[in-house]
């Protein structure tokens, strides 16, 4: 096994660990919260973390120099489609939730209008990349169409975070936007080899964790020093 492969495997293991921990934190947060919007975000964090771990494990060994495919190609393709679909629903719902919490319910970057275009681009890019030609300009087009919408989501989430006054969703949108942006860049950087992708995945997982924990605005209470304020006159 080459040293690159060892580094990739270590990064991969760390990435999975972060996702598992983020999923666990999301589970605890969901138990503590009452608001439906926040609970649904936490539930999505659990589901997505649960999907991400097998995704990371399944997709990357193909590209290792000593790679042993863990899934048959058809099964892997189906899995990537499911994962991609989940990722897009997650981003989509996050933007819609943030819009709901904005006092003026503003449509960030015209998302309401371009929503279906983004979905179509992603679907075409995904199916084209998986089942289309593997060389030529068409393959490059598909390769850009797939992560392209993710980059759009990243920008939309960042813009959303500037508008939403709710501190939990503001922070959540910011970190989730960074997560999505790094994932998009990681896929685009695939031409540079597998290591940038794996490193990008690890960075993204940290942003994902930050997004998850930002759902609960916890306090470090000094229970002994707090006292009631004076009654109104």
């Amino acid at each position: 096994m080459s040293s690159d492969t060892v580094v990739e495997a270590v990064l991969l293991a760390a990435t999975c660990g972060v996702y598992i921990f983020a999923g666990y934190r999301a589970f605890r947060i969901r138990k503590a919260l009452v608001g439906a919007l926040y609970r649904s975000r936490a539930l999505w964090s659990i589901v997505f973390a649960a999907l991400f771990v097998p995704f990371v494990i399944a997709i990357l060994p193909f590209n290792f120099s000593s790679g042993i495919p863990v899934l048959e190609l058809d099964a892997l393709g189906a899995f990537i489609i499911v994962f991609n679909f989940a990722a897009f629903v997650f981003c989509d719902r996050t933007i819609l939730v943030a819009r709901e919490l904005d006092f003026f319910h503003r449509d960030t970057l015209g998302y309401g209008k371009v929503r279906w275009l983004v979905w179509t681009m992603s679907a075409v890019g995904m199916f084209g990349s998986l089942y289309g030609p593997s060389s030529g300009w068409v393959s490059y087009l598909f390769a850009i169409l797939w992560p392209g919408p993710l980059a759009y989501f990243a920008v939309a989430l960042a813009a959303t975070s500037l508008r939403v006054p709710d501190r939990a969703i503001k922070s959540y949108s910011k970190w989730f936007g960074l997560f999505t942006g790094v994932i998009a860049i990681s896929f685009l950087a695939l031409t540079g080899g597998i290591l940038p992708l794996v490193a990008g995945m690890l960075v993204a997982s940290i942003f994902y964790y930050r997004a998850t924990v930002s759902l609960s605005a916890t306090s470090k209470l000094d229970l002994a020093t707090l006292s009631p304020i004076p009654a109104a006159a």
């Binding site: 605890r28 138990k31 608001g35 006092f103 006054p165 709710d166 501190r167 306090s219 209470l221």
Partner: protein, 222 residues
């Protein structure tokens, strides 16, 4: 006295609930369940035949969905002032009309006991200078107290500077504070009654949980 709609909270407040002709502010972080206290407050009022008004910056459909989500039936609903789905619209850019509409609705029902629940304090505080809002809320609360009414308002913790919240708290007869307390990896929702008209200071935090059958206050932490 006016029941909070949560028997264990009524018990904590001396078995009766919120004082008559009072205003109560609930402060807490997003998602902790401040609104649920408001839903139970309104729900109980509707059952008891009180006139209930819910003034919100959200669409009626969103609030009803939330109510159903915590097990509160929506066969009886309050009168609404909301961003959409109600005859009387809530325009956050026009604080004067919001105040006018609330007072007008309350005045129309002066023969009954009135319950007003609102989540408009934080949005209006974000969009207007604190000095203006202090006068605004002071005037509104004062007007509502001329009648047999109780106002229940929510404020978002972390959306405003702490001194702004402290200033606003002074306008209210009762302040309930909700917090998410992190200890290790566990997150515990807590609340405390910072002050309540007619009650001695209640020290310490209480755990609480929300289920589909109501809200339960459990033994105090300290």
């Amino acid at each position: 006295m006016v029941s909070t709609g949560v028997p264990s909270l009524d018990a904590l407040l001396g078995d009766d609930g919120y004082p008559d002709r009072s205003s109560v502010l609930v402060v807490g972080p997003p998602g902790i369940g401040k609104e649920v206290l408001g839903y139970w407050f309104v729900r109980t009022g509707l059952i008891q035949g009180d006139y209930c008004l819910y003034a919100t910056h959200r669409p009626v459909s969103d609030v009803l969905r939330d109510m159903k989500g915590v097990g509160i039936g929506t066969e009886r609903v309050p009168e609404w002032i909301s961003s959409s789905g109600s005859p009387v619209k809530c325009d956050l850019k026009d604080a004067t009309s919001i105040s006018f509409n609330i007072k007008e609705a309350v005045h129309r029902n002066k023969e009954r006991r009135v319950r007003v629940a609102t989540d408009l304090l934080s949005p209006l505080l974000v969009l207007n200078p604190v000095e203006t809002m202090y006068s605004y809320w002071s005037q509104l609360l004062s007007d509502l107290k001329q009648q047999d009414s109780v106002l229940f308002a929510l404020a978002e913790d972390g959306m405003h500077p702490q001194n702004t919240l402290t200033t606003m708290e002074q306008l209210f007869d009762g302040v309930i504070e909700m917090k998410l307390y992190e200890e290790g990896l566990a997150i515990t929702p807590l609340f405390r009654v910072k002050k309540m008209l007619g009650l001695p200071p209640l020290h310490g935090y209480f755990r609480f949980s929300v289920t589909n059958t109501g809200m339960e206050v459990v033994p105090r932490v300290q």
